[in-house]
Amino acid sequence: MLRRRHTISSTHHSHPPVVPANEFVADFMAWHTKPKPSLNKAIIAFGLLTSLGLIGILIKLFTVGLENRSDWGYLAAITAFLLSTAGCTPFVVLGLRMIKAHWRRPIARIAESYSLVTVVTFSFILLLLFLIPSSQNRRTIWFQNDHVGTVGAIPFTPHLYVIIGILAMVLAGLGLWWTSLRPDIRLVNNLKKADKPTNKSWVGSLKQWRVQNKGLAFLGAFFFMTFIWAITLYCIDLCMSLVPGWRDAIFPVYQTLSGIQGGLATVILSMYVLRRFGGFEKYIFMEHFWAASKPLLATCLLWFYFWFCAFIIFWYGRMPIEQDLLQLIMFGPYNIAFYIAFSCCFLLPFLILLWNTVRKTVWGPPVASALIIVGCFFDKLRLYVSSYSVQDDLALHAITEIPATILPNITDILIIMGGFSLPIFIMLLCTRLFPIMSVWEMTEGLRLTKMTKFLRTELRVLGKPE
């Protein structure tokens, strides 16, 4: 009788059991050291797709060359897409680290590993920079327009500064990844009885842990800044300043936000894949998706908000240039892409995540995330392809006429395919080579969690070290 009452009373706490830390380590290492053969197959498949994309780029390079900017809109779009999905994932985890959210732990490593993708993305950006005009006599944030003589001229704008900005972001990401990886590498080596030079560099002394903690905090802050700055530069210099008269102060913020949204979606999807195919039901469960779904919902709302902020001003202002812009990037030649982006970045995810019952499932957030990824791609499409197709005329700082729609040709399709499979390929490689779950963070988390009997119910206790 008593027991029955007790079980009833504790039904509404759907706590999964707290696994002892060492048990988890054993579990994970067993999984990590002998991966499934299907993993290798997948790696090969996606590797092929990725290389197809690279081949596409080469073909374009040798057939049409770099003369005409409008040929390369799709590469720019896919690069932006990679930058604001894979590129922004580390931001998600460092934000969660900052507020000491426990549910970040299983996904921390995945998120950080995505900074490897940015390394490849960077090379695309280098290629694109050949297409970007210098900002001399051009109205951009570099203040190089006609009024400025040789006196106020800044050399190598914008190319040099874009490179610096994005390089800083890449390095910060790699640093973040490596710093949090070291303890786990040592763990793997111990397991494999492998004697690697890294063993000497990491022994796990208290001092080293303290340094690692501080280092993660510092690199986190650094990445935060560089990441915002990199996105800002990219979306201004490789998109906005190509359209004369497009002056939209919120655009960088909007792109950063869409980056954070894409990053979060990427993390959630990877989390789902890891749970589904990696078989980590014991460590990744509904609570994680539930917790992740709330910020995701917030980003969806913010996406609409930032979009609307720009839209209402242009719509109300009714200046000719504003009308042209609305045509160019929203309701004109790329309206289909825009409508897809709108519904996939805001409308549908919002309608899905609105319901707590859906948020509290393992499948709900991933579905929304998948939609968001698609939406993010089309969003970049309508922004970049359109702005790359504009013929710029330095004399009058306005759009002369709205260019026609540019549809992807075969090489573009190859590039898009490659672009989509690139992050997957790299992540699969990571899974193969490094521990894909941050073991030390997981164990720390498990140590800080316990179940306690409170009066007649059972509660989970989470430690929050200051």
């Binding site: 706590h15 102060a249 800080l448 409170f454 989470l462 430690g463 929050k464």
Partner: protein
Amino acid sequence: MQERVFLPNKQINDDLLKGSFETPWWYLAWMALFAALTAWGVFAFGYAINKGLGVTGLNRPIMWGFFLTDFIFWVGISHAGVMLSAILRLAKAEWRRPATRAAELLTVLSLMVSALHPIFHLGRPWRFYWPFPYDFSRGIWPDVRSPLVWDPHAIFTYLIGSTLFVIIALIPDIAVLRDKTKGVAKVFYGALAMGWRGTPRQWKIQIVAGFLLSGLLLPVFVSVHSIVAWDFAVNIGTEGWHVTIFAPYFVIGAVHSGVSGVVTMLILLKWMFKWDDYIRQEHLESLAKLLIVIATVWFYFFFLEFIFALYNLEDQEIALRELQAFTWPYNLIAFVFLFFGYLIPVPLWLFRRVRRNWVAMFITSIMVNIGMWCERFLIIVPGLARKTNFNFSWGSYTPSWVEISIVVACFSLIFLLIMTFAKVFPLIPLFDIKEGQTLSDEIQIGKRTVPALRVEE
């Protein structure tokens, strides 16, 4: 480090209800002072109604001045409440507990006061209700395309919402007052408590309601200041206003000044009511950390706004920035805005010693709000002073005694309202504090005990 204090519930009641049961002489003295200032403001407004807005310093082209500056300022302050209590509630941040009610109260009161400003500002204040769709008899309607019609919708939605939010969260504390008072007061509180008993059901609903209302109020809170921003940003007629980033820039600025306002208020409460056990350094520190982030994001937005406005290097824009940055007295205001609003407080907050120091935080938080007031002024007036492309009718502006006294009156009205509220209701939610004590726990790791939290998903 969190220093945990455990107190018996009875003592919590006695401490936090101090305000309602004892009234020191200085308290009444302050209230009298504020009441007098407010009365003076009322007189000034009456004078303006009687003589016409000519008695203000407004002119062509500066048609909007102190009143709207103050309007934006108070709307901004009103964003403290939801920002803190809602976001921190949703994030389940423990340190929110003593701050929520104060923040929400600040929201409600400052929003009420800010809603008065457009009326001061109208040419014919006795027709303030005309933007509402009420006129069925004559079939004359407002123009829904006007931002000034969006404004009342947003502000009243926010006002009603946050007021209900405060009331709902008050019910359990009113029940405590009901049990502690006698006679008429008991009847009064008893009526307000609506027969609250504290059954598990009622508590559960109370908690769920907290989350639900927070979730509903957050989007409203963003929209309110955005719409206030659009009052300016839809303008193509005024230099420096037609900027797409205005809405989020205003919102984050509002949060910046609002949270600082809450810090000021909390410190004052601690000093006034000796609530050292409830408002502790850990709360101060967390608020300061939050402020660093907010302020930095705000500064990034400001940077974008400035760069994007200026980079075309159009003569009119240059003239505007020149006025803002180099022309007396605007350059002084700009200096105050930059240094008080960001450059002095934020670097100071980086030091743990400052974050945990009451006096330092008090001063810095007030500095922020002075800076933010100047920011609003610098957005409105210089833009209008360099309004048209033809420099033939550029102008300048100095406020008259009427405007100054009305602004001062609004500040004192806020203080008056807060002090009155503090006499009737507790400014720190009792049950929230008690719950915090029930849920706090510890985890032993080796030799160290880590402060922990009992959670129920």
